[in-house]
């Protein structure tokens, strides 16, 4: 079976004034469907950059990143936006819910761009909130929720469109240990039970241990590809 993500000789160079910063250096990587990958590495090693390129919000300087047969870098900005809506679910460190919207409405946001009717949207949103265990909080605003609950709403928003990939950049970075465990268990369940492909950046080895596979980056290079025992 062809991998869902195929990265070939990917390099990303940032120009910072006179100096070129090589954030990613000639990386090649395959991620099969249904995988749960943790990206680890010291600060500045290029974890977020790699994640952003796979998620179609950044572009490689050289090389290619093909997601389910589509070379992401070849899409125009407008095509890319629509592609993200269909294929990517984002989970951020700082949750990034829209403060003026309820949990329900936040989860509904990505569906507003699809052709679904209001009742179809409602069904999808309720199912997603059910999955993260927050159906009873759907009319709460973000400020009425705990950090862990906010992040679970964000996960519901990420999966409501049934995307190809869920990308999470330090999803537990702003959470206490208990909430972090809840969120990680949720991701594990999504991967194991719903077959979601998840790529998660983390600093925390305990978080990384929840993944099927851990990748280490250092100075923009991929170090080793170790299978973690489940």
């Amino acid at each position: 079976m062809t991998p869902i993500v195929q990265i070939r000789e990917l390099t990303r160079v940032y120009q910072q004034g006179e100096i070129d910063v090589t954030a990613l250096d000639n990386i090649s990587l395959d991620i099969p469907d249904g995988d749960f990958v943790a990206l680890m590495g010291p600060s500045g090693s290029g974890k977020s950059t790699l994640l952003h390129i796979m998620a179609g919000i950044d572009r490689p300087t050289r090389g290619s990143c093909v997601v389910r047969g589509v070379d992401v870098a070849k899409l125009s900005e407008t095509e890319l936006a629509e592609w993200r809506n269909h294929h990517i679910g984002f989970v951020f460190q700082t949750f990034n819910l829209i403060p003026v919207l309820t949990a329900f409405e936040n989860v509904e946001m990505p569906l507003l761009l699809t052709g679904l009717t209001a009742s179809e949207r409602r069904a999808h949103v309720e199912a997603a909130l059910e999955l993260v265990g927050l159906k009873d909080r759907m009319h709460h605003q973000p400020r009425q929720l705990s950090g862990g609950q906010e992040q679970r709403v964000a996960i519901a928003r990420a999966l409501v469109t049934d995307p190809t990939l869920i990308v999470a950049d330090e999803p537990t970075g702003n959470l206490d240990a208990k909430s972090a465990t809840e969120v990680l268990n949720l991701l594990v369940a999504l991967n194991r039970d719903a077959g979601k492909t998840i790529i998660m950046v983390t600093h925390d080895p305990k978080a990384a241990a929840h993944a099927r596979r851990v990748l280490h980056l250092e100075k923009g290079e991929l170090l080793k590809d170790e299978e973690t025992p489940r």
Binding site: A81, N96, V100, E105, A118
Partner: protein, 380 residues
């Protein structure tokens, strides 16, 4: 939720900002509407088909120069002229200077054949014509001073050295300026010891085709005389009169421009603040699939909505206010009418709409061009 609901939620997120923006836009547009209405009232005297048939003959040099009474016979002979009346601005004071209203010495039996639009009770008109010291007054001035038919009033002359003592015998309404007082030119002449002059002649011609030939004929007839004449239509006459206020049009125009400019600054700064504090949210929207055009539409709709809300409040507020207060009384007779026309309303609202669009373009453009990754790094 719908996209429209989302836009509304964004607009309402900061109540203080919302209130202040709407208030400042609505105040500005209220002022704009008021100024435009004032400008229109000053520069566009009513033009009915009757008024198109009215001509004024005056001294060629200026309105301050008078004409000999006897010109009337020659004017009357000009083909196409139906009626002609002596017509002298009296400009007297009734009790106090602030009680200003226009007064004219006219020929009573002719004046309402010239101002055909005005409505007068035939019995009152008859009484006005028959009594040498009678006068007839527009309804607005009657109401302003609480006068009744039979009341006696004295005008103190300022331009003319005499004080007519008049008795009100009639009231006219509608059609023409309802503030005038008309009294007998003969009585005026008698008080002036048979001076034999008139300020102007007002005449009515047979039909519109006669207007230009009559103008040409009258002015030609007095060329090279001691007092050459200038004959013009009522409309041209009133427009010339308005220019005596100085360049009011330019003044009002420049005030309006300043208002509009201030509004653009206010809304633009509000919108740019609103957008800047939301950079990260906009980046999130883009991450979850909104494209540049859609994000731009969200911002544009919000800005447009805010400006339109303010615009509606200001323009419709002005309209409601001026159609419910007696502007004639409130301005002590300076403005007779104060109609906020559909045209003025529409231009005010158009202005508000444009304002909403223009003021968000720069910040919206900046937020669209910013990459998602940069936007996500923004802190609140």
């Amino acid at each position: 939720m719908t996209i429209a609901g989302f836009i509304l939620r964004n607009a309402l997120r900061n109540k203080r900002r919302l209130t202040l923006t709407i208030l400042s836009v609505s105040l500005s547009l209220f002022l704009f509407t008021t100024l435009q209405t004032a400008l229109r009232e000053l520069t566009q005297p009513p033009s009915t088909s009757d008024s198109a048939l009215r001509l004024i003959t005056r001294h060629r040099v200026s309105l301050a120069n008078v004409l000999p009474e006897k010109y009337q016979y020659r004017i009357q002979q000009v083909p196409g002229v139906e009626v002609v009346s002596k017509f002298t601005w009296f400009g007297g004071i009734y009790q106090d200077e602030k009680n200003f209203f226009p007064q004219f010495a006219v020929e009573p039996e002719k004046i309402f054949r010239i101002f055909t639009e005005a409505k007068v009770d035939p019995l009152e008109l008859d009484a006005f014509i028959k009594e040498r010291t009678a006068c007839i007054v527009g309804i607005k001035t009657m109401e302003r001073f609480g006068w009744k038919i039979g009341d006696r009033i004295t005008l103190r002359g300022t331009i003319w050295d005499c004080n007519p003592e008049l008795v009100i015998r009639g009231v006219y309404r509608e059609g023409i300026d309802e503030t005038n007082l008309f009294f007998h030119h003969d009585y005026f002449n008698e008080l002036m010891n048979d001076l034999g002059v008139t300020g102007t002649f007002w005449l009515r011609v047979r039909d519109e085709a006669a207007v230009q030939p009559v103008i040409d004929a009258i002015d030609a007839s007095f060329r090279n005389s001691d007092a050459e004449t200038k004959t013009e239509t009522e409309r041209a006459f009133q427009l010339g009169f308005v220019s005596m206020f100085g360049n009011i049009k330019m003044l009002i125009g420049s005030i309006s421009t300043v208002i509009v400019f201030t509004m653009v600054l206010v809304t633009a700064s509000t919108m740019s603040m609103a957008i800047r504090e939301r950079m990260r949210e906009l980046a999130v929207l883009k991450a979850i699939g909104f494209n540049g055009r859609q994000v731009f539409s969200l911002i544009l709709a919000e800005s447009f909505g805010l400006a339109m809300a303010g615009g509606l409040l200001g323009c419709v507020g002005a309209w409601a206010l001026f159609s419910n207060i007696d502007v004639y009384k409130a301005t002590q007779g300076f403005f007779i009418k104060f109609d906020v026309t559909p045209h003025i309303l529409a231009s005010g609202l158009l202005l508000a709409g444009l304002l909403g669009a223009i003021s968000c373009i720069a910040p919206a453009w900046a937020s669209i061009r910013m990459s998602v990754v940069t936007g996500l790094k923004e802190t609140d």
